[in-house]
């Protein structure tokens, strides 16, 4: 009896620290930490709120991108045509898509103020490697804004590969549009449309 108890104690002592070291930060905890961090940075930085692109790019590169599998995100949006793109085209697609998304969302940063992020319960098993993390942005007025993330476990931690705002997934929304451009003008056609779009003057804001 004692022997079994002792071995259980030993087993616990050795396996617990190992388990902690081996399992990366849980996906929902990671989103919570990042959300708070980014909201704080934007609130405390007027240049970011004004959508200043250099600062914004720095913030995204340092804080967001390490946790995003942007290659997967772009590939999923391009769909089955991704495999027909050359490695060079794939790189360009990722760069243009990134510019498009940053341009789009930088305009929304000016309205960041009193928002808080509330995590919704994670419905996943510990052994899952592909999960949906759900959160809500609480505003001083109006309904909460649903904000969800698709995440995948990679060798170096969890990576975001799709975002859902108000029930609309980013990748799915671009998929049809990308497919339209590819079927009309091939991958080159899609690249042209994206870079045309990115060269247009930014939208006026109020």
């Amino acid at each position: 009896m004692m022997k079994r108890l002792l071995s259980l104690c030993l087993w616990t002592m050795f396996s617990l620290p190992l388990a902690v070291a081996a399992s990366p930060e849980a996906p929902d905890r990671m989103i919570e930490r990042l959300s708070v961090e980014i909201l704080e940075k934007i609130k405390s930085d007027g240049a970011l709120q004004a959508g200043e692109s250099k600062k914004l790019n720095e913030l995204i590169d340092s804080t967001v991108m390490p946790h995003v599998d942007f290659r997967r995100m772009t590939a999923l949006a391009v769909g089955r045509n991704w495999r027909t793109a050359t490695p060079e085209q794939q790189k360009q697609l990722m760069a243009e898509f990134r510019t498009l998304l940053i341009r789009t969302y930088s305009g929304a940063l000016s309205s960041v103020g009193d928002q808080k992020v509330r995590m919704r319960p994670l419905r996943a098993n510990p052994q899952d490697t592909d999960v949906i993390v759900r959160s809500e942005v609480l505003q001083p007025r109006g309904e909460p804004v649903q904000l969800d993330y698709r995440m995948m476990k990679a060798s170096d931690g969890w990576k975001i590969y799709d975002v859902n705002v108000l029930g609309v997934w980013l990748v799915e929304t671009y998929r049809t549009q990308f497919a339209q451009e590819v079927s009309a003008g091939g991958i080159e056609g899609l690249l042209r449309s994206l870079s045309e779009k990115n060269r247009q003057p930014p939208q006026n804001r109020s």
Partner: protein, 269 residues
């Protein structure tokens, strides 16, 4: 310029009905959406018409409304219409078999109509009664009725074969339309449209910047959002959600995830 872009350029120049004919040729380019949007040529024409009306009339009015009224006043307007809508939301919650939500939305209506001065103030939200929006289209969805094809309604915008007829039922539950005086009823209905349109001004700029094809962007966003609303934010995986891309086929793709840890042996339980 791509074919899709040609179509858009044409749509903005020519009279809508004519566009319906000329678009029939190029809209087939979006084969990916054929299943959900078999009426795409017609829908694009109506979309173009709605857009023209919006640019000429509704948007300038909404912009003027937003610029001239202080934010507090607009909030009061939104609260009043929101409060009237809460009662119909509660009824739909009940029809969807969600008595707890129905009770919460009914409480919102009672609280805001009394202590909130006939709905001028939304005191129910800070008191912990979260705002919901339910309509009869969502109720039908909850009952298992599929959306059918996508449909753009003249002046009313994105809809589908399930939600468009459901609007007739929604109109029966619309308290604004029960106002006795015809003049006041019309005035209230117009004010509500302007208020809702003003609320879209910011989001619209986002779509403007984000979309390669505004029509497809709005359609795909609308269909996803409706599905999400039917399931109150927790939709089951969608059959549309298959991109045909498999990261396992991508030689330069990200490293495959580590194998899932095996379930722990029985001895640990």
């Amino acid at each position: 310029m791509s074919r899709a872009a040609d179509c858009r350029a044409a749509a903005s120049r020519v009279a809508p009905l004519f566009v319906a004919l000329s678009l029939a040729g190029c809209a087939t380019a979006g084969g990916a959406s054929a299943g959900r949007d078999p009426l795409e040529p017609l829908n694009r024409a109506i979309f173009g018409f709605n857009d023209a009306v919006d640019r000429a009339v509704l948007k300038p009015v909404a912009q003027a409304y937003q610029d001239s009224l202080p934010v507090e006043a607009r909030e009061i307007v939104g609260n009043v219409f929101g409060n009237l809508a809460d009662l119909w939301t509660a009824a739909n919650q009940l029809l969807q078999g969600k008595p707890a939500e129905a009770a919460s939305d009914l409480s919102r209506f009672v609280l805001n109509s009394t202590l909130g001065f006939a709905g001028l103030a939304d005191i129910a939200t800070p008191a912990g009664f979260e705002k919901h929006r339910e309509d009869f289209g969502q109720t039908l969805g909850r009952w298992g009725i599929p959306t059918g094809p996508y449909l753009v309604l003249p002046l009313l915008g994105p809809s589908n074969f399930r939600d468009a007829p459901a609007r007739v039922v929604d109109a029966q539950g619309d308290l604004v339309l029960t106002i006795d005086s015809e003049g006041q009823r019309a005035g209230a209905a117009v004010l509500r449209v302007i208020d809702e349109r003003a609320g879209l001004l910011r989001g619209e700029r986002l779509v403007e910047g984000a979309a390669l094809d505004r029509y497809a962007f709005i359609r795909d966003g609308y269909l996803q959002r409706r599905r999400n609303q039917v399931y109150d934010g927790n939709p089951p995986p969608s059959p549309d959600d298959d991109s045909g891309y498999d990261p396992a086929d991508d030689p330069e793709g990200p490293a495959a995830p580590p194998p899932a840890p095996q379930p722990t042996p029985a001895g640990n339980r």
